[in-house]
Amino acid sequence: MPLPSSTVYRRAAGHFRRSFRRSISTSPPEEYDVVIVGGGPAGLALASALGSSQLVRESLRVALVEASDLSKVLDWTPAAGTFSNRASSLTNKSQTFLKDIGAWNYVDEERTCPIQDMQVWDGVSDARIDFSASLLGLGSPGQGMARMTENLNLQRVQILDKLKVQTIERPEGSGDWPLVHLDNGGILRSRLLVGADGFNSPVRSFAKISSYGWAYDTQAIVATMFHSPRGAFMGPNTTAFQRFLPTGPIAFLPLSPIASSLVWSTKPPLATALIASGPVVLGSMINAAFRLPDVSMRYLNGIVLDAHASGNPVTASQIQAEIAWRERSHGIDETSAYTSIIDVGKQGIPPADAELLPPLVTSLQPGTVASFPLRFNHTDSYLGEGQGSRTVLVGDAAHTVHPLAGQGLNLGLADVECLSRCIQNALLQGGDVGWWITLTTVKIQLRRFAGSRTALVPYGQERYFENHKIMSVMDKLHKLYSTSFEPVVWARSVGLEVVNELDSVKAALMMQASGKRLEDASPWDIGANVVESLAAATDTARVVGTGVSGMLGAVLQGALKAVGNASSQSKH
C-alpha cells in the first residue's frame, strides 16, 4: 500500500534532520599525540616501539586504528608443521630492534629458522656464489607480529581495531591537526598521523603525497613447500637457495627440516598458468626450475603456457615425462643431484653436488599457493606538507620493493625504528612531534644536503635515501638478471665466480659496515654503497661495469643472508 506522499516527505525530512543533527552534533574529537593507521607489521611495531619507551608512555597518547580484528592475529595458533606462505627473512638489525622493543619475546623461535648458508646462481650460465659465514633468522612475520599484539596490550597503547578510517580531514579551526573520522562516529584529533596503511594508503592520499613507480612485468608465486629432510650426510636444512632465471629469481628459504618457503618471481601469464595447473605440476616445475638448464625451462614454460591457453592444463604425468625427457637429453644421470625424478637426497650417500641444490619438493602445503604482482614504488616524500602536514608514512605506504629477499618488512621495521627514535629525541627537546615532521620534503629531496627544514627531518632524510638505495639495488638486480644477453651474462657470471673465489673480498664486503661487528652490519648498506659508488663510475666498459654491479648485486644478496642471529646461532 503506497503511503501518502506527505508522510513520505515527512519521514524523509525527519530522517534528513536526524542524520544532519548527528553529523553536526558528534562528540568532540578525542585528542591524541600519535594516531597510527594500520595494524600490519610496521604499524604494530611502531606502536610497540613507542609503548616500550618510558618517555613516550609518560608524555604521549598513542592510538592504533586497524580495520580487521586484531584478536584473530593474537589468537593465531598455527598447526605444528604448517607454515604461512608469507615468510620474511629478518636481518639482524631488524631482529635487534624487535628485541629492543620487547617484541621478540613473543616470537616463537621454534618457528623460525636460521639460514647458515646461501647459494645463489645464475640461471643462464650457472655461475655461482655461496656464503656460509653466517646465519639469518627466518621467521614468519605474521607470527612475529601476531605475538607482538600481546606485547602491545601490556604497553597501554590504545588499540582501536575493527574500526575503519572513514575520512581524514583538516577543518578550519583545528589548526593544522588532522581529524580522523572512524566508522563508529568517533573522531580522533591527532598531533601526528602515521600512515602504516600499506600500498594503497588512505593516509597518503589524504596528505596528497604522490608516489612514482612501475609494475614489473612480474608476478611472484609464494607457497610453503614440503620436502624430505636432509640426509645424514648433509647439513641441516639451513641453506637458502636462489637461482636467477631470465624470467625472474626463484628462491627457496628454509623454515624447518621438512618445510621451506618459495618465492618465485616470473612472468604474469606463466604464474597464472603454473598456479592453474595444480600443486603437483607446480611442485615439479619448482624442482625443474632449480635444476634444468635455461633452454629447457623455456621449453617447459612454453608447454605449461600453451596447455593453459588451450584450456586443458598440463597434467602431472605429462610434465614429469617432459622433465624426464629433458633431463635425459641434457645427459643428467639419475644418480645426480640434478635429477628430479628420483629423490637422491633420501637414500644413502648423497651425490657430490647435492649441497648445491635445494631438496626436492614433494608436496605443497594446501592453501598456501598464492601470487601477487611485483611493484617498485616510492613516494615523493615520507612527510606530508601543506594541507597534509603532520603526516608521516612508514612501511609499504611509503615504499614497495621488489621482494627479492623479503626486504620489504626489514625496510618497514627500519623506518619504524628511525621514526620512534626521532619522536623520542623530539620529546627530549620539548618538540612538537607532529609539527617537526611537517616538512616540505620534496624540497629536502631536491636539496639533499642544503635545505632540509626540520628537526624531525632525520626521519625523512635518513630513511628516504637508505630505502631508495636498497630499492634501487633490488631494481637493478631484477633488471640485470632478467636478461640472457650474452655479454651481460658473461660479465655478471665472471664477476660472480671471481668474487666467489676471493674469500677475502667476500669477507671484506661483509665486514665493511662502518666498523661494526659483522652481525650488526646491515649488508644492504654495504651493498648499496658499493653499487652506488659503482653507479657513479664512468660509462666506459659498460659491459664490465654491468657485470661488476651484477656481481656485487649477488654479493650483497648473499651478504644480506649473511647476517645472523646470535641467539639462534648458539642454539645450533
Partner: protein, 285 residues
C-alpha cells in the same frame, strides 16, 4: 666592550624600529620553511643546552640524584621567555613541564604565539603569554627559576639595561640563559652577508653588526654585576668556572642542514652564534 660599558641610564631597552621589523614578519613565525627556519632548527639545540645545564647543576648539588629522568629538569619550574616571538622556545619549555610565561614587545608576535599554542591542548595548563616589555615585570614581585632570552640581545637598544632587567627577574640560585651573535668578521659574513644579502634566508635589516656582542663582553659584564665586590662570576681572565657561567658555540652545519652544539671551550666555536648561561648566586655575598 664598548657596548656594555654604557651606563645603565635608559629605562627601556626596546627599540621601536626592531619591534616594527618583527611585527612585519610575525605571520611567518610558524612557517618552518620561511623567515625563521634557522631558528626552528636552532630550537632543539637551545633546548638541549638548557636541559643539560639544569641537569648538570642539579647533579652537582645533589649527587644522590643520580639519574633523573632526562625530561624532568624543567618540570614545575617558573620560566620566563623574554622576547618569545612566535613562541618557538616557550612551547618547548612548556612541553617539558615548565610553568612558562612568554613576553614580547610586539603585540603581533604575542597574538601569533597565542593562536598557535591554542591548537595544542597540552599547552593550555602550562603556557601563557603577555604583551609587555620585560622591564614592566620588575614592578611585580614574581621572580623566575629560569629566565631565557634567545636571539634577543642583538636586537635591543641598551644591552646593559636589558641584561640588568633579565638578571633581576631571576630568583637567587636561578639561571639566566641567553643566545646571541658575536661581533666578529665571521659573524658579519655568515649572518649578514650570506644569510641576508646572498642567500636571502633572512630579511635584510634583521641584524646589525654593531649590535652584536662578544661572549667575553657578556662574561665581563657579569664579572662586575651587580657590583665589582660580589659579582655573579668571579673576577679573573679567561673562561669562567663551569658552575658560574658557560659559553657554548652553536655551529651551523650546512651538510646536515642543522645546528650543532659545540663542546665546551671548543676553539673558535663561539665566533658566530653562541649560547650563554650564568647563574645567580644563591646568597648574595
Amino acid at each position: 666592550m664598548h657596548l656594555l660599558r654604557r651606563a645603565l641610564h635608559t629605562t627601556s631597552s626596546v627599540n621601536p624600529a626592531e619591534i616594527a621589523h618583527f611585527t612585519r614578519l610575525s605571520s611567518q613565525w610558524w612557517d618552518e620553511a620561511g623567515e625563521f627556519s634557522f631558528l626552528h632548527k636552532m630550537n632543539p639545540v637551545r633546548m638541549r643546552f638548557i636541559r643539560e645545564k639544569l641537569l648538570e647543576v642539579a647533579r652537582d648539588e645533589q649527587p644522590a640524584l643520580n639519574q633523573p629522568a632526562s625530561t624532568s629538569a624543567l618540570k614545575g619550574l617558573d620560566v620566563l621567555d623574554v622576547g618569545c616571538g612566535g613562541g618557538l622556545l616557550s612551547e618547548s619549555l612548556a612541553r617539558l613541564g615548565a610553568k612558562t610565561l612568554g613576553v614580547d614587545a610586539s603585540e603581533a608576535n604575542i597574538s601569533i604565539a597565542r593562536i598557535h599554542a591554542a591548537q595544542d591542548p597540552k599547552l593550555a595548563q602550562s603556557l601563557s603569554y603577555l604583551h609587555t616589555p620585560a622591564e614592566t615585570l620588575l614592578s611585580e614581585p614574581k621572580r623566575y627559576d629560569v629566565v631565557c632570552s634567545m636571539e634577543v640581545l642583538e636586537h635591543v637598544d641598551n644591552p646593559p639595561t636589558f641584561l640588568d632587567t633579565c638578571a633581576k627577574l631571576v630568583k637567587p640560585g636561578g639561571h639566566l640563559f641567553l643566545s646571541t651573535i658575536s661581533r666578529t668578521a665571521l659573524a658579519y659574513f655568515l649572518t649578514i652577508f650570506m644569510a641576508e644579502d646572498v642567500l636571502r634566508k633572512v630579511s635584510r635589516g634583521t641584524h646589525t653588526h654593531a649590535k652584536f656582542i662578544r661572549p667575553e663582553e657578556l662574561t665581563a659584564f657579569f664579572r662586575a654585576y651587580p657590583n665589582a665586590e660580589s659579582p655573579w662570576v668571579d673576577a679573573g681572565r679567561g673562561s669562567p668556572t663551569r658552575t658560574q657561567a658557560e659559553i657554548r658555540g652553536m655551529v651551523w652545519n650546512p651538510l646536515g642542514a642543522r645546528w650543532m652544539l659545540a663542546p665546551r671551550d671548543a676553539w673558535g666555536a663561539a665566533e658566530c652564534n653562541y649560547l650563554f648561561w650564568v647563574r645567580k648566586p644563591i646568597v648574595p655575598t
